[in-house]
Amino acid sequence: MSRFQRPFVALAGLLLVTVAACSSGSSSGSSSSPAATPSAAVPGAAASSSMAMASSPAAQGSATASAQDEVVIDNFAFSPVSLTVNPGQVVTVANHDSTTHTLTATTGNAFNTGDIAPGATATFTAPTKPGSYPYICSIHQFMHGTLIVR
């Protein structure tokens, strides 16, 4: 490489770095969009929870579930943070992130979805005893939410 080519290569490198940084910002939007691929069956981790995997695509799962029985995981956060359900109600959990998550009760093994693969959907059965049940993602334990059974 001749001397006059070096500034060109350095400039190209700087350009590529800038493009990479910009692409990360734009890709986050697309990667966090609802999954259009069919749900994958992922084995659960807790024996106490009822694990019935949704067989329909995640997008369809959102459409068929009522607004009060679904938790969506997006950008490392549960939505809604607090969900109120009836005793024994089946709750759907949709993972819209690009990494695996769980929805796991913090006490008493009340419920646990097990690993939910990126873009997949899982379900669990709410406890029959009324009360407030905090839960986390067991992989990313800074993620918190609360299930209220009444």
Partner: protein, 139 residues
Amino acid sequence: MATVASAARLMLRCAAAVGLAVDAAVHAKLAGQYDAVAASVSQGTLFRIEAGAAALAVLLVLFWHRRFGDLFCWLTAAAGLAALLVYRYWNVGAFGPFPNMYEPVWFTDKVWALLGQILAVVALTPLLLFPARRRRVDS
């Protein structure tokens, strides 16, 4: 013989570039989501730094055949590989400005990043251990 060695070196450089490009692409893709994992600095920012360094390394390994450039490429891949494996298997916790990046799970993007980094390290190591002799140009 010299031609064979040159061809082998070129293949190693191309392999390293592919590995580094995969590393850069995966980290750039995931950076936005990992902004949520934050202390003074977010994991998303660290991913952007890795993506930028790996993208620069692609150019260096292909177009700037110098020992210092190859060392930068190797360190970029090796540091990323070390961080990935450490935070996969060891709960380091949050320390200094860094958040707790412990994530005891494999998923597709993480496996791609791992494979890219391993490929880059494997391809760059012989380039560093057996540097090419520079030709003297007599005027």
